[in-house]
């Protein structure tokens, strides 16, 4: 990354009629919640634009208003390619060429690539004859616009996610999209795949299609977009040129707070070794991995997606078995046949997918908290003790300062940051010796992140050995004692935050 990408200005945004121009857009829910307050928004034709803001800042609401899913409060001005509209429906938005690619892609895994791309030609309540050849041709034309070639007859669920992303974009093009919103498009892509996607976006921009990125990946966004609109708490903070904008300045604008990023690295070389891994290897995932984590130490493991970090984390947690190599905990060799063995040995793992894997969303906060420690809250006759459960739940809610209504409430009612604290509490209740955190602050507001980092440092002070896996380089730089760089399944570098600058590290990782 870095200097490799040119900022693409597209067509001069001011010279011609903009793709969309919104002014005085407000939205209230239930007459009380002000999701948007007098926001204006403008995207030029062929412009690559970023929409930035924390969770709850109003980004999705704005997109839903633009696409006709919500109606704005009276007094809003909405212009689509120069044409003023007083009321927009999903169909009329589509007619103007507005398309949204949501994070879950909304594709059909059992259908072929061609049918997915050409799906809009299959719509309509009255049955029509399907021309399979026609669909193939439509799909090919859309892919040609992107300069790409795919196996049209393959079932979509046999294709990797990067291909599916392209399919989603191609599908938007079939309906003659002239402005495409992309919600977190690079979240699950490897670096190579991200590069390809960004190249596709630039092709679109050159062809006059505007693209609006909604993304947490500030570094990427600053590289590819020409302007960024920042929302905070439903209000417009401002519209900025990305040239000259830094991540920290952007973060400040998004949160309204300045964060003093201080290197927190400590020297723990004198402490005893807790986890020692030697020459761990697993086919197609990682190879020749050796590392040491000492008590009280926070080790960062960073690298691009596809480097093998999560796969390594899964093996350390007992969910997968390595082909070769040994893992030792407190000097004893561990053979783990399942993650239950890992938990019993004292290894805990906070998954990167909090919504689907980290918590059972419909169930109560209390139940989620005690899930891995059912034995500990068992009393007479092997039955679960309500008293013990209450004690454990109460202790951890207090210790981690988790704000809740009642502990019987579903965990889904909590904010992202509080949910993550519940996940931490759950694992800490197992009294682990090693805590593996995999992308622990994804989807957590920048403001709430500081709280989580504080907790992690406090845990280290109490003697825990912590492995922090993250692809956000600043996150590992400021919060760990040592940083391991993994690429292509191998550990290729080790850095001390006190002796390396953030910039040097970023260059090493993104090179």
């Amino acid at each position: 990354m870095g200097a490799m990408f040119q900022k693409d200005q597209g067509l001069d945004a001011g010279a011609s009629v903009p793709a969309i121009r919104l002014s005085h857009v407000s939205k209230m829910f239930a007459g009380v919640v002000r999701a948007l307050d007098d926001v204006s928004f403008e995207v030029g034709r062929g412009e690559i634009h970023c929409l930035a803001g924390e969770n709850g800042s109003g980004k999705s609401t704005l997109i839903k208003i633009i696409t006709g899913v919500y109606k704005p409060e009276p007094g809003a001005g909405m212009e689509y390619f120069g044409k003023a509209e007083t009321s927009i429906t999903p169909n009329s938005a589509r007619g103007h060429g507005i398309a949204v690619i949501w994070q879950d892609l909304a594709l059909f895994p059992e259908m072929t690539v061609a049918e997915n791309i050409g799906f809009d030609t299959l719509l309509g309540s009255w049955p029509r004859l399907v021309s399979h050849r026609g669909i193939r041709e439509t799909a090919q034309a859309a892919l040609a616009k992107l300069g790409l070639d795919l196996d049209l007859e393959a079932r979509l669920n046999t294709q990797p996610i990067a291909v599916r992303q392209v399919v989603a974009i191609a599908r938007a093009l079939v309906s003659d999209a002239r402005l495409i919103f992309m919600d977190e498009p690079t979240a699950s892509l490897t670096q190579a795949e991200t590069d390809h996607l960004l190249a596709v976006v630039r092709t679109l921009s050159a062809a006059g299609v505007a693209v609006v990125f909604v993304s947490h990946r500030l570094a990427e966004v600053l590289e590819i977009a020409s302007r960024v609109t920042v929302l905070r708490d439903g209000r417009l903070v401002g519209v900025y040129e990305t040239q000259g904008m830094t991540q920290s300045r952007l973060t400040e604008l998004m949160t309204g707070k300045t964060f003093d990023m201080v290197v927190g690295a400590r020297d723990s070389s004198a402490n005893r070794t807790v986890l020692e891994v030697k020459n761990l290897a697993r086919q197609d995932e990682y190879e020749d991995v050796s590392l040491v984590i000492r008590a009280g130490e926070i080790i960062g493991l960073t690298g691009l997606i596809g480097a093998g970090r999560t796969e390594l984390g899964h093996t350390l947690f007992g969910m997968t078995r390595p082909d070769r190599g040994t893992t030792c905990l407190d000097g004893e060799v561990l053979t783990m046949r399942s993650n239950r063995d890992a938990v019993a040995a004292g290894i805990a793992y906070v998954s990167e997918d909090r919504l689907a894997l980290g918590l059972v969303q419909p169930q109560s906060i209390a139940d989620n908290l005690v899930m891995p420690v059912l034995r500990k809250i068992s009393g007479r006759g092997g039955l679960l003790s309500r008293r013990k459960k209450g004690d454990v739940v109460g202790k951890w809610l207090t210790d981690l300062a988790i704000k809740i209504g009642r502990s019987e409430d579903a965990v889904a009612t909590l904010s992202g940051g509080n949910q993550q604290r519940v996940v931490l509490a759950k694992w800490l209740a197992t009294e682990p010796k090693v805590l593996i955190l995999d992308s622990p602050t994804v989807g957590v507001d920048v403001g709430a992140r500081a709280g989580i980092y504080k907790i992690v440092r406090k845990l280290a002070d109490q003697g825990l050995a912590i492995l922090l896996i993250s692809d956000e380089v600043p996150e590992v730089y400021f919060n760990t004692d040592r940083i391991l760089h993994m690429a292509g399944g191998r550990l290729i570098g080790e850095y001390d935050p006190r002796r390396t600058t953030l910039h040097e590290l970023e260059v090493a990782v993104y090179a």
């Binding site: 169909n91 909304a106 594709l107 049918e115 719509l123 004859l129 399907v130 997968t320 082909d323």
Partner: protein, 329 residues
């Protein structure tokens, strides 16, 4: 040929198993490999196939329906009275009346699923029992014998004499072929059919794309209802009487056959060919067991085991097995 095999692995496997069973049976018994036997197999299983292609559409759309056998019985009964009221009737009227009644019953299921967001297994368990209870209560379980002649007369489509005896293909087989063709055309060559696949595959994605989700439910259950009604009509043609509780129980065998043929309870998958092969597999197995002198009471056992093996096989692809052995994933 190769691309067919690649695109339709389940149907190919099923076909090979069927061929294997046929080979085995032709060696084990003299009377199996005769045209007469095959013809009677087709005649006797045509109603099951008609129902299977109806159920297939519901499964593709992501739902399930176990009320169709009862619906068929209700339609049969109503048809008798309807034809009496008209004073006779003929096959055209027969198809129209039976089809319309079946569709109406299917629409009840669709309405309950769509407007009240009740999952289809619960809806169809309920309508199954509501319809069956009412049918038995109102009719007191009475058999109906005096059906119009046009209805019960055996209509020959094709007949020829061979060394082994007569080979006859009757009307049920033609109707079966028609139902199969119509369903195949619907799901593969109409936009509505493709939307059904999409809806079963990813209902939320389909909704966002602009698919009319209510229409999907009504078409899926409506098609099933149509097939239920026509199946009932043909069944009466075969057995020449209407018995209200005769068809109950067959819904689960038909479901098993459709699943054998590659349809998935989660929706988005399935083919007419698979349905046909699935029904045929079960029928050939039972036919074979019969010819081999195995007690009829053992048939169901064998069918149950076959289904269990088939489900397990479709879930356990070979590479998944290998991975599981390798590393606990």
């Amino acid at each position: 040929m190769r691309s067919f095999i690649r695109a339709n692995p389940t149907e190919t496997k099923l076909f090979l198993v069927l061929v294997a069973i046929c080979l085995f049976l032709s060696l084990a018994s003299d009377s199996f490999l005769t045209l007469g036997n095959f013809a009677s197999l087709l005649n006797n299983n045509s109603v099951n196939v008609i129902w299977a292609v109806g159920l297939l559409v519901v499964l593709i759309a992501g739902g399930i329906d176990i009320s169709f056998a009862v619906a068929a019985s209700v339609v049969q009964y109503l048809c008798v009275y309807a034809f009496e009221a008209i004073g006779g009737g003929n096959w055209v009227i027969g198809f129209l009346v039976a089809g319309a009644l079946g569709i109406a019953l299917g629409f009840i299921n669709a309405a309950l699923v769509h407007y009240f967001r009740i999952i289809s297994i619960v809806v169809t368990i309920a309508t199954f029992n509501a319809m069956f209870g009412l049918l038995m209560f109102i009719t007191s379980g009475r058999y109906l014998y005096n059906l119009p002649e046009w209805w019960t007369d055996r209509v020959m489509i094709f007949e020829t004499q061979t060394a082994g005896g007569w080979v006859e293909l009757a009307l049920p087989v033609a109707v079966m072929a028609g139902a199969m063709t119509a369903t195949w055309f619907l799901i593969r060559h109409t936009t509505t059919g493709r939307q059904l696949f999409a809806f079963g595959d990813n209902p939320e994605g389909a909704r966002r794309a602009g698919v009319n989700v209510g229409l999907m439910q009504f078409i899926a259950f409506g098609w099933m209802g149509l097939m239920a009604g026509i199946g009932g009509l043909i069944q009466a043609n075969i057995v020449k009487e209407v018995v209200p509780n005769a068809l109950i129980g067959r819904e689960l065998e038909v479901l098993a056959a459709v699943v054998l043929g590659g349809a998935r309870l989660g929706g988005g998958r399935g083919s007419v060919l698979g349905c046909f092969l699935g029904v045929l597999l079960v029928a050939v197995t039972q036919n074979g067991l019969n010819l081999l002198g195995v007690s009829p009471f053992a048939f169901k056992m064998v069918v149950g085991v076959i289904i269990l093996i088939a489900i397990s096989m479709s879930n356990l692809e070979l590479d998944v097995l290998v991975k599981a052995v390798r590393g606990g994933r």
